[in-house]
């Protein structure tokens, strides 16, 4: 080389400058991989570190402008792939790589950022189950945070149109990707909380690349979801896509369509539910009436009276039940119509009327039952009266055998124990031990006179 042709003395600076020129010209754009060590980031914001492998080390610096754009945080020991240009730090006579871009070895930069943010927020308790709010069963007003030009809103409205119609849907239109998207999404979530009048919100977008979905991995969105007082369902991308918004949301839906399905029940499901409850309702009353039925039957039997009337009530309920069963046996598609028919029938046969009739019948039956019982009781009373008279007559038998007689005054057959109770001319019956006699009082004598 020309330089060495003659003995030309260079200063250190001159040589260093020459070396720098050679390096910068030949290593303008290099990719290097290695393990990070001696990482430091002083207040200047520049990032200093050494990349090394088993045999060598390379000094690296990433200036503040590039370092700020990093989505993940490199750390000592992390494998990195970096892109940059070689240069020489002349004051120290060291060559170094000026890094413009880096990504973690093995996973992409976004993935690393995802993992790191997720770990940090998990550490803060943002994903705790205890913080999650229950999703209302049948929300009346549903808020949607998404783009109005994307596929997601189409999918959701399509699903909603096929399902229960009695809901109100409010959309806050936002950008879902690119600069400022995360901030817009977070603001929309806060707006819904300020607006208040919704029961649940769906936050999401359709499928896309990891970069497209990135807004839903931004801390500002994650925190807005965490702070929402209204339950949030996340619905980002496809089933395989997981974003940090999914972890913090009260419920994760695999897709926007699935979110719509989760939040609005299908008409057929609801119809089946109403139908099942109607069935149980009729079963319940039938069971209850069957009990009454049995009691009345046994009452009637004991009174030996016809029971035709009662059968009627049971028959009506049976008939109703038969129709319900029939409805249950038919396919889902016809369930709705069957239910309407059935309910109409219920209305036509007028359960109130049925109930009224049952009530009247019960009243009349119990009145009749009461009458029957009263008759029995009366009969018993009569029998008892006769028996007691007989007993009265019989009990003094032994006394009579000894020669005493019983004196009773006619016509009330009252036993006479004092002469003051009788008058001259009264008719008396004398009962002897054997036989009796009818006497007429001729004269009355006072006791002791």
């Amino acid at each position: 080389m020309e330089l060495f042709a003659e003995k030309r003395i260079l200063t250190v600076s001159q040589l260093t400058s020459l070396i720098r020129g050679v390096l910068e010209e030949n290593f303008e754009h290099v990719w290097v991989e290695g393990e990070t060590s001696n990482l430091s980031m002083p207040v200047s914001g520049h990032l200093y570190f050494t990349l090394k492998d088993a045999g060598a080390q390379l000094r690296c610096v990433m200036f503040r402008a590039s370092a700020r754009a990093l989505r993940f945080k490199p750390s000592d020991g992390m494998g990195l792939i970096v892109r940059g240009r070689l240069s020489v730090y002349e004051q120290r006579g060291e060559y170094q790589l000026i890094v413009e871009y880096m990504e973690p070895l093995g996973v992409g930069a976004l993935q690393m950022a995802f993992i790191q943010l997720k770990e940090r927020l998990a550490g803060e308790g943002l994903f705790d189950e205890s913080h999650k709010k229950p999703i209302p069963q049948l929300p009346q007003r549903i808020g949607i945070v998404t783009s109005v030009t994307g596929a997601a809103i189409h999918d959701m409205l399509n699903v909603l149109n096929r399902r229960f119609a009695n809901v109100e849907i409010l959309i806050t239109p936002v950008k879902v990707q690119g600069e400022g998207a995360a901030e817009e999404i977070a603001a929309a979530i806060r707006d819904f909380n300020r607006y208040k009048e919704i029961d649940v919100m769906i936050v999401g977008r359709g499928g896309g690349s990891l970069e497209d979905l990135w807004a839903f991995n931004e801390e500002v969105v994650v925190r807005a979801i965490y702070n929402s007082r209204i339950p949030v369902i996340s619905a980002v991308g496809h089933e395989v896509d997981f974003t940090i918004a999914d972890f913090v949301a009260d419920l994760r839906a695999p897709t926007p369509s699935a979110a719509a399905e989760l939040v609005v029940k299908s008409k057929t499901e609801l119809a089946a539910e109403v139908e099942a409850l109607s069935h149980r309702l009729v079963q319940g009353i039938r069971h209850r009436l069957a009990g009454v039925d049995a009691r009345l039957f046994s009452l009637l039997r004991s009174l030996r009276e016809p029971s035709m009337l009662l059968g009627h009530l049971g028959q009506r309920v049976d008939d109703l039940l038969g129709r319900l069963d029939l409805a249950m046996q038919n396919g889902m598609s016809r369930r709705k119509e069957r239910l309407a028919f059935l309910l109409n029938n219920l209305r036509l046969t007028n359960p109130a009327l049925l109930v009224e009739r049952g009530r009247d019948m019960l009243a009349s039956l119990s009145a009749r039952g009461e009458k029957g019982v009263r008759r029995i009781v009366e009969r018993c009373h009569e029998t008892a009266a006769v028996d007691s008279a007989r007993l009265h007559a019989l009990s003094p038998l032994l006394t009579l055998a000894r020669g005493y007689s019983i004196v009773r005054k006619l016509p009330e057959m009252k036993v006479i124990k004092e002469s003051s109770r009788i008058e001259r001319g009264d008719r008396l019956e004398l009962t002897f031990h054997s036989g009796s006699a009818l006497c007429i009082v001729e004269e009355k004598k006072q006791a002791g006179s």
Partner: protein, 78 residues
Amino acid sequence: MAAEKFETSLKKLEEVVKKLEGGELSLEDSLKAFEEGVKHAAFCSRKLDEAERRVELLLKQKDGSFVKEEFRLEDDQG
């Protein structure tokens, strides 16, 4: 019952059925519960057929207040 919501009515229907099935009601109350249940079942059934859906955009004004605007999908999009 006109202002009642579908889910309120459905819930009441469910409660009535459970009470009735519990078997602890007097005959009189059972019959009342049955009547009430039939009313709710009919109401729910009717509600299912109603189409009251509204889709609106919630837009924030500069002063922070909200306005609602009817939303229609343009079919050539997405």
